[in-house]
Amino acid sequence: MTGARLRIFLPPIALLGVLLLLPAFGIQPNAVRLLFVTFVWMTASIAWNLLGGFAGQVSFGFAVFYGVGAYAAAILIDGGRLNPYLALVAAGMTAAIASVLIGLPTFRLRGPYFAIATIGVSETVRVVATNLEFTGGASGYRITEPRPFNQAEHYYTALIVAALAFAVSLFISRHKFGLGLIAINQDEDAAADTGVNPFVYKLKAHAVAAFLTGVAGGVFARYAAFIHPNGVFGFPISVQILLMPVIGGLGTVWGPVIGGVVIGVIEEEIVAYFPQVHLLIYGLLLIVIVLFEPGGILGAIRRLQRWVRRIRDRQAGKRTADARSKKPDEVLWGAGSGPGR
């Protein structure tokens, strides 16, 4: 029991420890920036996966929460002179409230209809934000903080936010809430017949995801110090947030983390040398994943593990293979039921 727990909790804690210590070894500002951006994307990726991966509700509208979070944080820090960390929490809350307002009508739709509705909502919000006074309109919004810029502070903020998102995701996956979401993903009506209230559960997952995405937006806005509606509310943001869990492994805890790293690296490194080429890479990755490995990178790793195990079994001799060959039958047909079914 403790061994299983260790396997679940040790890797993320170890990884967090390494990342916390990393700046102390004096890494380059460019690398810090790369990691910062990766953490921000990772947070949004983990958040999207709660709704899209666990509950199976594919939303193309997460730019709304990213943008709302970014603007809420920007306005509260710059205009409101609020403590930046309080402002980040407030940014998350604002995004969560927005998610409920969006979810109430859109969760009455299912599957592709829900996905299309989120595109509509997202574009509407972008257009409205572009034409509002207090967002600075199309010319954007500049954030000035009284304190001097400190890259390490931003690094740690983003790291902690990403770690919190991971913890939330891990917690949900291991508890009743996650079980309900996966049940909705598998069969919404059967879930309702088993006592899950799908509407409320989807709203809750949406709100948690929006909160985390909003905080990520706020963290980014603070770092960038300048945001504009076509950037943070743009459709590419929605697509990118959605792509990360799909690339990494939909509906898993580690998948969106891996996807976040991939997109973060592509975004920061490859774009620098080959502008626009990242869109091509995203498209290719998506095609390859949809065609060959719907489980994403994580799915591919698991497949590789199975291969290795099978080859090792074969080398170990036929006896093990024979001893195991009965088990799949038992799993397939059940020991109790007779033949001919």
Binding site: K176, G180, A183, D187, T194, G195, V196, N197, R341
Partner: protein, 279 residues
């Protein structure tokens, strides 16, 4: 414990169920039968929360639960199984049942819910398959999984929709034994089935529907001897059949398309298709 009062459902101009009333008493297995299109499934779905009735009431222990969505019914102690099995395919057998245990009437934390899920699996005899994926189970075991998942919600009333459909004779008998066992430990069961043999074997009381109306209600023996039921299933009986005089003339029929109404062999008749006089 369950009372249905004047339940009616219209689909457009067609009355699928019209003015049906009955009462299910605690500890019974209560069955619905009727030819295809008789309204069994519509009636079932209205009680199970899938359809909202056009008029009429459903009362559970005196509480009006008409039109409750299915998850609220589960919390009221009414759970259902599906005619076509609907397991959570990618989950393990245990996780399927855990959903019921976590979100059922008792709800609760991880450990006790997992225990209740195991109890339900043991009851239906799937405890040796807890870790296999739900979708690799045989149909018979998936049907058992449906029952286990519903039982894990801790229902007072279990609604079974054609739970023996697609099962072999032996599996059907095992399933009927399971239903009796569930009844005997105190859960009331409402049961819809095509298979007249199965339903007369297990039910304490049976409601017969025809053309959306209540045709007859009684114990299996009573309804098997009811001339109106025999006529609905086999067509008008010849004179002297069953030792009773039955008039030849067809009684007034609702204007439904006769082609929609498949016919069924009588309760004790061999399982061969029998034509009705209408066709």
């Amino acid at each position: 414990m369950l009372e249905v009062r004047n339940l009616t459902k219209f689909f457009g101009g067609l009355a699928a169920v019209r003015d049906v009333s009955f009462e299910v008493r605690r500890g019974q297995i209560f069955g619905f039968i009727g030819p295809n299109g008789a309204g069994k499934t519509t009636l079932f779905n209205m009680i199970a929360g899938t359809y909202k009735p056009t008029s009429g009431q459903v009362l559970s222990c005196g509480r009006n639960i008409t039109g409750y969505p299915s998850f609220r019914l589960v919390h009221e102690g009414i759970a259902r199984t599906h005619q076509v099995v609907r397991p959570f395919r990618a989950m393990t057998v245990l996780d399927n049942v855990r959903v019921g245990a976590h979100f059922g009437r008792q709800g609760g934390d991880h450990k006790s819910a997992a225990d209740r899920a195991m109890d339900a699996l043991r009851e239906v005899g799937l405890h040796h398959l807890t870790d296999s994926s739900a979708h690799v189970l045989s149909v018979g075991n998936q049907k058992k999984l449906e029952v286990a998942r519903a039982l894990a919600t801790d229902p007072e009333l279990l609604l079974c929709d054609e739970i023996c459909g697609g099962l072999t004779r032996a599996e059907t008998d095992a399933m009927l034994d399971l239903l009796r066992q569930i009844r005997d430990r105190g859960t009331t069961i409402m049961y819809v089935e095509h298979d007249v043999r199965a339903i007369t074997a297990v039910c304490d009381r049976i409601l017969v529907l025809n053309y959306g109306k209540k045709l007859s209600e009684g114990t299996p023996n009573e309804i098997q001897l009811d001339p109106a039921v025999i006529e609905a299933y086999l067509g008008a009986a010849p004179k002297g059949w069953n030792g009773k005089e039955v008039s030849e003339g067809t009684p007034e029929k609702v204007q439904n398309d006769p082609a929609d109404i498949e016919t069924y062999p009588g309760a004790s008749a061999p399982r061969a298709k029998t034509g009705t006089d209408d066709e």
